[in-house]
Symmetry: C2
Subunit: 240 residues, 2 copies
Amino acid sequence: MTGKSIGILGGMGPLATADLFRKIVTMTKAGCDNEHIRIYIDDNASIPDRTAAILSGGPDPVPAMADSLRKLEACGADCIIMPCNTAHYFLPQLQAMTRVPFLNMLEAAAEACARRFGGKTAAILATRGTLATGLYQQALAARNVPCLVPDDGEQGALTRVIYEGVKADAAPETYRADLEGVLAGLTARGADYFVLGCTEIPLAVQLLGLRQPMVDATTELARAAIRFCGYQIKEPALPQ
Amino acid sequence: MTGKSIGILGGMGPLATADLFRKIVTMTKAGCDNEHIRIYIDDNASIPDRTAAILSGGPDPVPAMADSLRKLEACGADCIIMPCNTAHYFLPQLQAMTRVPFLNMLEAAAEACARRFGGKTAAILATRGTLATGLYQQALAARNVPCLVPDDGEQGALTRVIYEGVKADAAPETYRADLEGVLAGLTARGADYFVLGCTEIPLAVQLLGLRQPMVDATTELARAAIRFCGYQIKEPALPQ
């Protein structure tokens, strides 16, 4: 227990927060309870929707996120991570409020894209809010990774998967056709692999048993956090 | 967001803490992020082993548990739950330190046994520490539920499942024979169903796909916490 601790600024959404937590636990090399990382979580269900704030003048999520940040800071977290890609638009504002470093999920995912797929073409699966900020496109461009984004119809289908599917905890089969259609359309237009750039998407992919080549931003954030804390990563025995 | 919040005093172990968290999220009736319960978690990997403290003079876990309790209290948790049955031996000491109510997993599980199985015979699957305290036996007896416990050989096998299997994140097939042997032996001696009275056991059961009649104490604690907070329970779409 000499390593550092993690603070998870969560609730965006709750199931994605649980997914990140489980991934950190199963990816940490540990033989017993006491060899794990200490993790503080605020699964804050009161944070307003990030995409609505970015695109359509919805309530500002920063005050509720700052409340969580203060709580995680008071617990003694050595770093902060957020299992919501769209929320990263607000990361600079939050980082300015604290000396505890945020680890950036989009940067971690873009690193993994460059390392694993080099110059192949990524398709970004993300919310309209995330895509509108351009943060993924910039993180990939900085590493010379070419990318595609969904067209308007595909983005509509992806939005249904995220909001009416995973966030509403609907039966996976109700959103299979939507998600498979998005993957097929992007593949036809030249995508070599997919960036799961919204934390609800890995849950959908796992529940539907999809096997396309992918970079899961949640998994990459888990890896970055484990490394930051000074622990070793193991390949998980549980399915990711 | 008018409901109460939950504090999870976790880390005993981390995977069981993630399991409880996921069960609360998937069992809460909610159509979007903002309809969920606010949950604070301290996944405290520094808490000494509870069974060792009870049975063999191991380090006292109460100071580390109290540290987590203070942090969850400071966050503003309206109730505290612990995803570790054995830890409940220390619950009265911890409850005496705070006005925030603890919800008792063993009582929640015993209630479910009486409600679902009446006078049928329960077999308690728990650590040596939990069984030595007699807390499950008492909670069941108070509700006129007859019960069996593993014999010494079965308990040895169950201890391997918990410590060398789930807590060490070993491949499930390495502990299938041990767990199936315990279930078969108890069934032969008259058990009608099983109380999953150690939070590692539901993980083993799920990973191995076992289908015997069971009361999962983690699930019952999740239900109790959701109700306490004033939210509605839904049957989960995800496998429990």
